[in-house]
């Protein structure tokens, strides 16, 4: 089934000539030679093309979304009735730990990375990112790290300390299986991907913008991704420290969290949440960026208050560093700390509110088209606001003292994550699918997908506010019959409702998966500019050619693409926007003026080799240090190979075409 289009063998020099016959490598397995395949599985394994990497990020994230979703359904099955026996206590602990870990680190973050990878270079008019091999490394680290983490299920049990892994529960005394070690090491591996990806994208945005594109003319999605990369850059090292301390304790006998030796359990909590709070903004900002593209497109109006939306995104990123201990209000911090963090947390509602206002004003007075992408975006505004309101109650430390560690918190963060981040990602799917795959996802299925998810989210998580206020704690494997309550506060009833709701969400997601297959089978090509969009990524073919732009566009304004299509014309009714060019005409003009000698970065073996070495080291730490030695040697080899490989493959690495015709062009990319 052709979900993924085969890459076209477009030659480096464009100009309308017929695509040359493909040539195949003969010596591509030489250690320092570079791979040369442009089709087939090798072209995916060794690719450095940001679009291919984006698709792989997306496909793998989607798979982990389903894994995390099944983990959630099992949890809800267990909680559907009192004193239930679907999951044992131990397995339940593993389930909620892995559900959260999978959803946060293996779905939402990498899915945002998928969109960032695919669209950031396109939105700024670049041909690829600043460091394409590092980009590839990031993907393979994510894939291998995620697989490594999940092999824990089969190797003695998964991590069971909750996704924020508080000490001393996380010590070997209370969690003797290897599960937490897999968790620690798996997150270290995927963490490297986030860190190097952040460096890559920041340099890309700062240094590789199309001529004329000032920072304040970049699309909002690009801006939000840029803020996220700075958050990742500075937050990842903190959790790295925490993870090292925990692994040194569990594997080498260090005493960091050993209370008998005088350790302070709050050390872990602080280090984790100094990372953890910026992390939640890392989760939400990309989706904020996506809907900031979708809403103006389908309101047929520019985004209201572009500058405010950009600055509030940066402000959220900045203020987000000062609020982490609001996750610790009940931990014994003391009144001064609690008060300070409480006020700081309230402050952060301000820039978020600014965004909500600006999005709403974007819709106001617009000619609204309720496509699926638009529905998901409006859904984000509604559901994130609800989640944000419960968040404000949590900022108030006295009320949080009752709410913390109850289902009230679970309600809050699921509204903002599922209702906010995930719905935003779905808006991105429906909006950008035609650009990525040349086909439009079915809109009828899409609307069912949306309404089921919207309805399902409310059905599942609204009752949890009640459950929390009635005292149902988080992470309890059972709730007993005798505490069920009466009338409106019947825990039994609301738990059942929530469990039913979770299956409604699952049905919605299933429809999305079905939509993908149905669309792929249909083979109907999408128009070039189906949504009459506004930004640069739409001045490309669908899917874009390997080199993205035939001619790097020169940018004159925000929403450059829109301004090339429409001009303001004075009529007797006042100034009117008139369409002066279609997308097809604009694209044809670009093709006619194509750049000559376009060079693209060459594929490489070393990213996948280096990425493979790290789980080997990790297995060694858990089972046998000899493996770690082998893994380390492979790392050193891979780094040297990386640094020493030639910039491009030698011409002699390519076989001549089968017919021996010397007029055929080598299918090289740079």
């Amino acid at each position: 089934m052709a979900i993924i289009e085969r890459p076209s063998a477009v030659p480096a020099t464009v100009g309308g000539a017929a695509a040359p016959e493909l040539v195949t490598p003969s010596r591509a397995l030489g250690v320092f030679a570079r791979p040369v395949s442009s089709t087939g599985w090798k072209s995916w394994l060794f690719t450095v093309d940001h679009k291919k990497l984006g698709i792989m990020y997306g496909a793998v994230s989607l798979f982990f979304f389903l894994v995390g979703g099944i983990e959630a359904l099992l949890i809800r099955l267990q909680l559907a009735a009192p004193d239930n026996t679907v999951l044992s206590a131990g397995l339940y602990n593993e389930m909620f730990t892995m559900h959260a870990t999978t959803m946060v680190f293996l779905f939402v973050m990498p899915m945002a990375a998928a969109f960032a990878n695919y669209f950031l270079p396109l939105q700024i008019g670049a041909r690829d990112v600043a460091f394409p091999r590092i980009n590839a490394l990031g993907f393979w680290l994510f894939l291998f790290g995620g697989i490594f983490l999940n092999t824990s299920w089969f190797l003695g049990g998964a991590a069971d300390g909750g996704w924020f892994m508080y000490s001393p529960n996380s010590s070997a005394l209370f969690s003797p299986s290897h599960g937490i070690d897999f968790w620690v090491l798996g997150l270290q591996i995927t963490g490297i991907a986030s860190l190097v990806g952040a460096i890559n994208l920041i340099v890309t945005v700062l240094n590789m913008r199309a001529p004329g594109m000032k920072l304040m003319q970049m699309p909002v999605f690009t801006w939000m991704v840029l803020v996220v990369q700075f958050l990742l850059l500075f937050a990842m090292p903190v959790i790295t420290v925490a993870l090292f301390l925990l692994s040194f304790q569990r594997n080498f006998g260090a005493t960091f969290f050993d209370v008998n030796q005088g350790a302070d359990p709050l050390l872990w909590q602080h280090l984790f949440w100094i990372f953890g709070h910026p992390e939640v903004y890392i989760i939400i900002l990309p989706s904020f960026g996506i809907i900031s593209e979708v809403l103006p497109t389908f309101a047929r109006k520019p985004l209201f208050g572009y500058k405010f939306v950009v600055f509030s995104g940066a402000a959220i990123g900045f203020v987000g560093w000062g609020v982490w201990a609001h996750h610790m209000f009940a931990s014994g911090l003391g009144p001064v700390s609690v008060a300070v963090f409480s006020v700081a947390t309230m402050l952060i509602a301000i820039p978020t509110g600014v965004k909500i206002v600006n999005w709403t004003l974007t819709l106001w007075g617009g000619k609204l088209l309720f496509s699926t992408a638009m529905l998901f975006s409006i859904g984000v505004i509604v559901l994130f606001t609800i989640g944000g309101l419960s968040g404000v109650t949590h900022a108030v430390a006295p009320s949080d003292t009752q709410q913390t560690d109850t289902y009230h918190i679970v309600a809050h963060f699921h509204y903002v994550i599922v209702g906010g981040a995930v719905m935003g990602l779905f808006a991105g799917f429906y909006f950008w699918w035609p650009k990525m795959f040349g086909q439009m996802l079915d809109e009828r299925l899409g609307k069912w997908n949306f309404w089921l998810m919207f309805f399902g989210v409310n059905l599942t998580f609204a009752p949890m506010h009640i459950l929390g206020m009635q005292g149902q704690p988080r992470r309890m494997v059972v709730w007993p019959e005798k505490l069920t309550g009466d009338g409106f506060f019947d825990l039994a009833f609301w738990n059942k409702v929530a469990s039913v709701g979770s299956f409604v969400i699952a049905l919605g997601v299933l429809l999305f998966v079905i939509n993908i297959f149905v669309t792929a089978k249909r083979k109907v090509k999408a128009p070039l500019d189906p949504w009459d969009a506004r930004t640069l990524e739409w001045i490309t073919a669908s899917p874009p050619k390997e080199h993205n732009f035939d001619r790097i566009p020169t940018v004159h304004a925000l929403d450059e693409f829109f301004h090339r299509k429409y001009e303001e014309v004075d009529t007797e009714d006042g100034p009117r926007l008139v369409k002066v060019k279609t997308a097809e005409e604009i694209l044809a003009e670009e093709e006619a003026n194509a750049d000559h000698h376009i060079h693209l970065p060459s594929p490489s073996y070393w990213p996948i080799v280096l990425a493979l070495a790290l789980p080997i080291i990790a297995y060694g730490v858990i089972f046998n240090l000899l493996l770690s030695v082998v893994g380390t040697a492979l790392v050193i080899l891979a780094i040297f190979g990386w640094c020493l490989e030639p910039s491009v493959a030698d011409d002699s690495d390519y076989d001549p075409p089968a017919g021996g015709d010397s007029t055929k062009e080598l299918a090289t990319l740079g």
Binding site: F131, I199, V203, L233, P237, L245, F256, L267, P601, L644
Partner: protein
């Protein structure tokens, strides 16, 4: 090492900017910007390790504490050595900017040697501490001290490997792109590692507990 979009096809063997630097929106080099971003993030890494140490430095029941075990004169000598290695690193970078291969290699080797001397001093110091009863698992002070200084030592060691590899690569003319910039970037890493030690030397060793 540059593999960003616009550049010429064949590998170069002179290595000193025989093509125009790649045009970037800020006019800054991609690699240099990347290195500074990395160093910015490393501040958070070492900050976490240092803070953990500061929290736990006074918790050493069952083993010696900092007052009993530190040898300030010895450590100040190795601090001085690392400081001087930063000077020799600058001299290497200057030689590279003057396209003086011979002196570049000379100063890189001297820097690596001084770094190795520093690491040797650390190893000697840790061995002595261990024999005096401070192990990695002895106390919170022990765990956090060895973790902090160990991370730093590993960074120095990786730096030494990079310096020596750089010498070998320069000798074999395998550098594509701007040779002086590669030396400069290795230099930035090296100086950062030195500057972290400036902080560690003061906060860990010199400030009385």
């Amino acid at each position: 090492m540059a593999d960003i979009a616009v550049h010429t096809e064949h590998t170069h063997h002179e290595g000193y900017e025989d093509h125009a630097p790649h045009a970037t929106s800020t006019g800054l080099s991609n690699n240099k910007l990347a290195m500074w971003l990395f160093l910015g993030s490393e501040c958070l890494l070492f900050g976490g390790l240092i803070s953990t140490y500061m929290l736990y430095r006074g918790r050493h029941e069952g083993g010696p504490g900092p007052d009993q075990i530190f040898d300030i004169p010895l450590t100040s000598i190795s601090s001085f050595i690392l400081l001087m290695s930063s000077l020799t690193m600058v001299l290497a970078v200057n030689s590279a900017k003057r396209k003086d291969d011979r002196n570049t290699n000379l100063w890189l080797v001297v820097t690596a040697l001084l770094g190795a001397l520093f690491v040797g001093g650390q190893v000697y110091e840790f061995t002595a501490f261990y024999q005096e009863g401070l192990g990695f698992t002895t106390s919170l002070f022990g765990s956090s001290f060895y973790t902090l200084t160990g991370f730093h030592g590993v960074h120095v060691t990786l730096g030494i490997i990079m310096l020596l590899a750089l010498v070998a690569i320069i000798n074999r003319d395998r550098i594509t792109g701007d040779k002086a910039e590669v030396v400069e970037l290795v230099g930035l890493y090296w100086h950062f590692v030195d500057v972290v030690w400036v902080i560690i030397f003061t906060l860990v060793y010199l400030i009385p507990a």
